[in-house]
Symmetry: C2
Subunit: 385 residues, 2 copies
């Protein structure tokens, strides 16, 4: 019990917006319930009122973009479905009697098959998944109830109105009470990813080149692990970029901010993290040997230190330039310095004699292949278990 409390406290502290969002949902839900209790808006809507409550619960998402996407999907899909269901109903009535039931059944079957299949299409899955679901649902509801209850028009009208009220309340609370923007989240995620990559290089410098850094041994060991969370950010990024598309101008972001560019930067960050993962798994496996051999060759060691230091600084500056959305003259300097260090390292290698320079290419391929072999062995062991 105490464990759960500590965990929940940590969750809230990690990102206080989580607590904020919880209160926002509470406010929106209480608002829609109160409207039902005390005002005459819902008089005459009877049991349809529940659709407004339902809509608020289902449409309120963590980000404004999420609420907007779901709200629009729900509202548009309901409108379209009600219209189509009316069409189907009128066609079915023409046949009369038993034919009506059979025809409505066929319509429902066809709509369900087509809509379910549409949800597999990647673009639709990413943006309109909820809308297609609601279309299928509302079409069936209206078609089914149209058979028994010939006041279908009122039912559909009430459903539309109450859903519109629900969406409006969810959107208002989402935008007016401490809004959480998907675009800003994506923006921060990109900066954080860059910082994490820089963090690894910092820990790497401290651990393997004995660079002096501000923090102690334990902290720099921990820094070596930070990049891990960059490896699996693709899904989050794609969804945030999709939700950001719909958000209106806010803060420093205009409507239709180039969110695609963030996805591009994100995929490059992941490529960098993959390389870091390869480097880190290689180093862990041959820790003492690599360190002592680098120790013996100070020129290469210094050049490696420079490269790692300058790229780290460059990435750090890039992270803060993403954060502040300013231009990046400082990062250019560090980047040039890193490129210079890389060039001079290549020079050093060629001075050290042909063998080492030739060996460079062979060695990289060889050692990564060796890594792949031992990774394959680990897989074998896991499969045997």
């Amino acid at each position: 019990m105490v464990g759960i409390c500590t965990k929940m406290k940590k969750l809230a502290n990690d990102d206080h917006r989580r607590l904020l969002h919880s209160f926002k949902v509470g406010i929106a839900l209480t608002l829609v319930s109160t409207l039902y209790y005390v005002t005459p808006i819902f008089k005459g809507f009877g049991s349809s009122t529940i659709w407004a409550v339902l809509t608020v619960v289902l449409v309120m998402e963590f980000t404004v973009g999420g609420t907007l996407t779901k709200g629009l999907n729900r509202a548009m899909a309901t409108l379209l479905a009600v219209a189509s269901a009316f069409g189907a109903h009128h066609v079915a009535i023409l046949t009369g009697g038993k034919g009506e039931v059979i025809l409505l059944g066929i319509f429902i079957f066809l709509i369900a098959v087509v809509a379910t299949f549409l949800r597999f299409i990647p673009v639709i899955k990413a943006r309109y998944d909820y809308g297609v679901l609601i279309f299928m649902l509302t079409f069936s509801l209206v078609a089914v109830s149209s058979f028994r209850n010939h006041e279908t028009f009122m039912l559909a009208y009430k459903r539309l109105m109450t859903i519109a009220i629900g969406v409006a309340i969810a959107l208002l609370v989402s935008v007016l009470v401490f809004p959480i923007w998907a675009g800003e989240d994506l923006h921060l995620l990109t900066a954080t990813n860059l910082e994490r990559l820089a963090g690894f290089l910092e820990g790497f410098g401290a651990e393997y080149f004995g660079e002096k850094v501000k923090h102690d041994k334990i902290k720099s060991k921990a820094l070596l692990q930070t990049y891990k969370s960059v490896l699996n950010t693709k899904a989050t990024e794609d969804s945030l970029a999709n939700l950001g598309r719909l958000e209106p101008r806010h803060g420093r972001f205009r409507f239709r901010h180039p969110w695609k560019q963030y996805q591009k930067i994100g995929s490059l960050c992941r490529r960098c993290a993959y390389l870091v993962e390869a480097l880190s798994s290689y180093i862990i496996r041959s820790e003492s040997q690599a360190a002592s051999e680098l120790e013996n060759n100070t020129r290469i060691r210094d050049a490696c230190m420079d490269i790692s230091k300058e790229s780290r600084s460059a990435i750090k500056v890039l992270a803060s330039s993403v954060k502040t959305m300013t231009t990046l003259s400082d990062s250019k300097n560090h980047m040039t310095a890193a490129a210079e260090a890389a060039k001079s390292l290549k020079m050093t290698l060629s001075e050290e004699g042909l063998l080492i320079r030739e060996a460079l290419h062979i060695a990289t391929i060889v050692s990564l292949l060796l890594e792949i072999v031992s990774c394959a062995q680990d897989i074998e062991v896991a499969i045997e278990e």
Copy 2:
């Protein structure tokens, strides 16, 4: 329009179970609608019937595990919420008059805040997200309607019964009509991931060591890209493993099959894919140089060929042994051969003189660092854009 049709055809051909699932949703939905039309089961349920239709649409998932998880979540959450809402209603009645409204409002607010916050907890998000949502929703619905309509008991009873019927129909169709199991999906995904890694090594052998393989140049170039889809499989794997937990015995899988082990294998496969990514991005950047230098050193070249060939064969055998769930004596042989080749490569390197062996460690770190620098430069360019 033609483009869309071709795309949809491709989607259906890639995995014919998508079409199957669409038809299953159609069947389930038509079934529940037909029950409503023709049988007296729903007589007396009035407009509550829509909950059964709604439940079928919302609960039918692609896999049996998915349907089971959502169905159980929906049924249990509704039951709990109805019970709690009754409790809240009775407490509120005690105060009477205006106090009743205020107290119910406070209850709804508190439930909404706590439930929304619970959804941020990773374990709950993975397994009970839908249940918590439905709990919040049903509690509000019953609490809200209990104020106006004092026949709340009937409403709650109808909602429970119709939801149970909906869940039952969705589950029956899911299990009886060509079931699609999450566990089997996870099983196949693991085998496919291994095959893709082997595919890369095959293409690698053909491209860089001129190994003779069955397919032509274009095919082997394409093989070099197959591993990319392994990089981002974490989310899919985790969700399938979660859904598989609930599935009953089916085919070769017993209830509580060790799905966790698949996640472990999956994470090792991803680690291997990260190494492959590092190798491949390194090779692309220095294609001609690496090839020509390996050309000059036939002993190392042959050893690399052996390593790549044997690991590829071992991984291939592992993939088919996962697929068929048999033991893997064959893969052991290949693995031993790969390890032997790796060992003899290390021997060769030490015979070639100290320099190249020393260089191995330095070179790997150096070239990966150089890769990281150029990756960082790409990131800079992307941020500037």
